[in-house]
């Protein structure tokens, strides 16, 4: 119980730190947010419009900075994220429109990368010293070190420009109308292939390497030797005895990485013009759209916190040792 209270306190503190960063960063930087926005409007605004922009940003120059800060915290707590200046819509609506795309694309890819990577890592460790094992780990050290926005560009070059098989960007075709028809769903999937492949290529390596490492350790355990001595099939020893235990540390990492789903693919969304959270974040930065920036950063932080909470719970359920130790 004490543990839960401490964790909850930590989450609140982190959330507060993120919100405060959000609030103070624009105000610490040179120039006022409103001035920057007005610069984007090419100066064609009247005094009262400046005032309106400032108000929509929560900037009220007649107050000190602290009352503004508390107003901002209050608004955020009640779910009022303000109005996005560049999209002309409430921030919550923009986020609501972007979030499903990111969760779908990056979420599914993260799960795929985890499953594939863990399987490859387990097999590599099981066949330690084989050709498979001598090729795979160096290959995946390589893929973890390449910048993934560049992988995206190369894939576009190969599959869109040269072969013409797949679209180079966008969530759907330009004329697609959202519906549950097979053609629309097919369109969505076709547009997701390249960004997803990009994330898969660069994301899988970490899982392979950690799983192989865990597996190498687990294989020396007595219960694995015992399983072998019992004459169980090779596959069963590998999957049910060794891999099942070796996967535990990876599961925690997996839950954590789900939290980074929302923010993990910013550059991929940028390269492919995929209109998810990262795409809008970059847009917001480009247009100095502070309310949208703040709202997106809040959502990204919340996603990470929720994932950590889930990973805590998952570890406690799956690994009894942590329950007594915690």
């Amino acid at each position: 119980m004490r543990f839960i209270i401490r964790r909850a306190g930590f989450f609140l503190l982190t959330l507060w730190a993120a919100l405060s960063l959000n609030f103070f960063l624009p105000r610490l930087m040179p120039g006022s947010p409103a001035e920057r926005i007005i610069a984007h409007l090419h100066g064609a605004v009247s005094q009262s419009e400046v005032r309106a922009i400032e108000l929509s940003l929560g900037i009220n120059n007649s107050q000190g900075i602290w009352p503004q800060y508390f107003t901002y915290l209050g608004h955020t707590a009640t779910g009022n994220l303000g109005l996005s200046y560049s999209q002309g819509e409430p921030v919550s609506k923009v986020i609501g429109g972007a979030l499903p795309w990111t969760l779908g694309l990056v979420g599914i890819t993260t799960i795929l990368a985890f499953i594939l990577g863990t399987a490859i890592g387990a097999v590599a460790a099981w066949r330690r010293g084989s050709r498979f094992d001598s090729v795979m780990p160096p290959l995946f050290v390589f893929t973890t070190a390449i910048p993934f926005f560049w992988v995206g560009m190369v894939l576009i070059l190969i599959f869109s420009v040269h072969l013409g098989w797949l679209p180079a960007g966008g969530n759907t075709g330009q004329l697609a109308v959202p519906s549950f028809s097979p053609s629309y769903i097919g369109d969505v999937l076709v547009h997701a292939i390249l960004p997803s492949l990009t994330l898969l290529i660069t994301g899988i390596g970490g899982w392979v390497l950690t799983m192989r490492n865990n597996m190498v350790t687990t294989l020396t355990e007595d219960y694995v030797r015992m399983a072998r001595a019992k004459g169980l099939s090779s596959f069963r020893v590998m999957a049910d005895y060794a891999a099942r235990n070796a996967i535990l540390p990876n599961l925690t990492g997996f839950a954590m990485s789900l939290g980074f789903v929302v923010s993990g693919a910013i550059l991929v969304e940028y390269v492919f013009n995929y209109q998810g959270v990262g795409y809008y974040l970059l847009n917001a930065v480009g247009y100095d759209d502070y309310p949208l920036m703040q709202g997106l950063f809040l959502i990204i932080t919340v996603a990470v916190l929720v994932a950590i909470l889930l990973s805590d719970i998952a570890t406690a359920i799956l690994d009894p040792r942590t329950r007594t130790a915690g």
Binding site: F149, W150, S263, V271, L281
Partner: protein
């Protein structure tokens, strides 16, 4: 990894198990490192690549004679004898940008690697050594920074510095990226706290600063080196990523900036493939150099890869798993 590693270990490396070793001195760590370079194929490749990049960074004038930023009438020209990789949208030589950009990227990698590790060392080791309230506060700050998504934050900060050079990038990356290393170093320092040589130092009445710098830090050389390499890799990927979305686009000669302009001018639709393939490949190869050296170093120092008693194997593998989780790369995104 089968062959070279075993020969390396048969050659009798000093003190296995970088993390659990009871105080390896700087010289043995260095010797182990040179041994690794000679005997481990990944280390050989990593160090060779690194040597090439260092050479290019030191002597760009030997390889490229044109200005990387000068305007010319030949805009987006295809590769030719005069411009090996063609020219960009203002007619500047892309080959010169790649060569001259090497220095900036190397400075970024080394500076961020060193600064991040240094900040992490000060905070992590101090927290562990002083304990109590200090430990609580520093640990809390570390944990909060660990959880806050850094890359989106960097993008927001970068929005305020459209003309940022290397210096801004170094400062921003270093002061946001230290938390994971700090946590590792803290737990490492904590595991040492009851060792005799530290108790002896306390009994002698040494001041905390002396104990931290002279007694604790030297025992962590291998972990510090691994952190340096990890953080340098992170700097290359995150820094290039930020430049790719336009940070410092107007006055910086860097691979990420070249990629930004290639992307802005849709280099793939106009057939100027080399414009983005070469700088991107350079980032990848430099990243690989750091990652290979680190991985090889880990492999050599990790007794899990050789036959040992089960308990020892387990201990070392757990430590390296924790380390490996760090390099998994979310940080770089």
């Amino acid at each position: 990894m089968a062959l070279p590693v075993t020969t390396g270990q048969a050659a009798g490396l000093p003190e296995p198990g970088g993390l659990t070793a009871a105080g390896p001195h700087r010289r043995t760590a260095l010797r182990r490192f040179t041994q690794a370079i000679r005997t481990n194929r990944k280390a050989t490749i990593g160090v060779a690549l690194m040597a090439i990049f260092i050479f290019v960074a030191l002597f760009p004038g030997l390889l490229a004679h044109q200005s990387p930023t000068a305007y010319s009438p030949h805009i987006t020209a295809p590769p030719s004898a005069a411009h090996w990789l063609g020219t960009d949208n203002i007619g500047a030589d892309i080959y010169a940008q790649v060569i001259d950009g090497t220095r900036n990227v190397m400075i970024l990698a080394i500076a961020v690697g060193a600064l991040t590790t240094a900040v992490a060392m000060v905070i992590g080791v101090t927290a562990a050594y002083l304990g109590g309230v200090w430990d609580g506060v520093l640990n809390l700050v570390t944990d909060v920074l660990l959880v806050i998504p850094i890359f989106p934050l960097l993008i927001i900060i970068a929005g305020y510095f459209p003309n940022a050079g290397n210096d801004v990038l170094i400062v921003v990356l270093s002061f946001t990226g230290w938390s994971y290393t700090a946590r590792q170093l803290r737990s490492q320092a904590q595991s040492l706290s009851n060792r005799d040589f530290l108790l002896a130092a306390r009994v002698r009445g040494e001041r905390p600063f002396y104990v931290i710098m002279v007694e604790i830090i030297p025992t962590m050389t291998s972990l510090l080196l691994a952190s340096f390499l990890n953080n340098a890799l992170y700097a290359v990927l995150a820094g290039s990523g930020l430049q790719f979305i336009g940070l410092g686009k107007s006055n910086n000669v860097s691979w990420g900036t070249t990629l930004y302009w290639a992307n802005q001018n849709a280099a793939w639709t106009t057939g100027r493939y080399l414009w983005f393939i070469v700088p991107g490949l350079c980032i990848a190869l430099l990243g690989v150099a750091f990652a290979f050296i680190n991985y090889a170093f880990d492999e050599i120092g990790n007794p899990a890869l050789r036959p040992l008693s089960a308990a020892k194997v387990r201990k070392a593998a757990e430590a390296s798993t924790r380390r490996r989780l760090a390099s998994r790369g979310e940080r770089a995104r």
